[in-house]
């Protein structure tokens, strides 16, 4: 076998993977190993593959990903804390030909924005919701979130979350899956390459659903927050696999079309 030099491998014709052009050249402000970077990349790749860069409008939340508009080169709108689904509803209704998605964390979506997300999903708004769940308020310093696991220590629950004091962790994906307006509800992760590929497929499917007008697509991505959890990125992934996946099981929770109106109108006919 003839030996080949590294310089001969690194050539344009041998390229198999490079950063997508939909991502800007701005250096992400996220901590090393943050799952946000991977999910941003997947959203950008799906937008590039579908060729919808000019037709996509994102709604960024309040939280670490508030600066998402700096990194993905599409049109963006910034919503008040938790109100991204409401803003996305307005954009999609006014411009039905556009692809609209919200990108929210668990402090934004599950806590202050719980009403907005439940009602947007219940109305079956034709939008994509990407929900990053790292069980913590990452940006503000690792406080307890609605999704914090029982016994998990955070800045505001240093002895761990206790059920009698703080209540139970919320499984937003399971709650949303019961609503008739949603068409595709799934929980994914990005801790290894296989999981990243699955998550990308799910995001692609969500955007295809929006194209077909099927209803709300809701993708939860179980993520890490190495700074908030006070571990290194590799350990954070191990911790997530060990503790979060048993409580937040991965997989599709729902995959259909939103319920037809006739199913509900029959109750009024008597």
């Amino acid at each position: 076998m003839a030996d080949i030099d590294i310089k001969d491998i690194i050539r344009e014709e041998n390229l198999v993977y490079k950063k997508t052009d939909v991502l800007t050249d701005n250096v992400m402000h996220y901590c090393p190993g943050c799952s946000h970077g991977v999910v941003h990349k997947l959203v950008a790749e799906v937008i590039e593959e579908m060729g919808i860069q000019e037709q996509t409008i994102g709604v960024s939340p309040v939280g670490c990903s508030v600066f998402a508009y700096n990194y993905i080169d599409i049109d963006w709108s910034e919503a008040a804390h938790g109100r991204a689904p409401a803003v996305a509803t307005a954009i999609k209704r006014l411009m039905p030909e556009k692809f609209v998605f919200t990108y929210q964390g668990d402090g934004d979506l599950a806590s202050i924005g719980a009403a907005e997300i439940l009602h947007a999903c219940n109305r079956g708004e034709n939008i994509v919701v990407i929900f990053i769940n790292n069980a913590i308020y990452g940006m503000t310093g690792g406080q307890m979130a609605p999704t914090t696991l029982v016994g998990m220590p955070t800045a505001t629950s240093p002895y761990g979350r206790q059920i009698d004091l703080h209540g139970y962790p919320m499984k937003m994906t399971e709650i949303v899956a019961t609503l008739p307006g949603t068409c595709f509800v799934t929980r994914q992760s990005v801790e290894k390459a296989a999981a990243v590929r699955k998550t990308k497929k799910a995001i692609r499917k969500a955007f295809e659903n929006q194209k077909a007008g099927k209803g709300t697509s809701f993708i939860e991505v179980v993520s890490t927050c190495s700074s908030g959890w006070k571990v290194n990125p590799v350990k954070a992934n191990e911790w997530m696999t060990e503790h979060m996946f048993p409580f937040y099981p991965l997989g599709d929770k729902k995959d259909c079309e939103k319920d037809p109106a006739e199913d509900y109108e029959k109750y009024m006919k008597g």
Partner: protein, 75 residues
């Protein structure tokens, strides 16, 4: 028999040294450098260039999209 050889190019200055690519690599090609970049991070580099098969797993899990992957078949 055809053999696959790969290579990665890491943008040293943008790498944040999180080490996720090191764990994701199935052939132990990648390691973190002892030197640091301008931001003080131990950037990733190809420690065993011969072992790389160009599977792009490292680039997929890289949160900052600093890895470019090349692959070629050699006979």
């Amino acid at each position: 028999m055809a053999k696959v050889r790969g290579a990665i190019v890491v943008d040293n200055e943008l790498c944040k040294g999180c080490g996720l690519c090191v764990v994701a690599c199935p052939t132990n090609t990648i390691a973190q450098a002892k030197e640091v970049n301008g931001k003080g991070y131990n950037y990733a580099y190809m420690e065993n260039p011969e072992a790389c098969i160009g599977c792009a797993n490292c680039a997929l899990v890289c949160p900052d999209s600093v890895i470019t992957v090349y692959k070629v078949k050699v006979s």
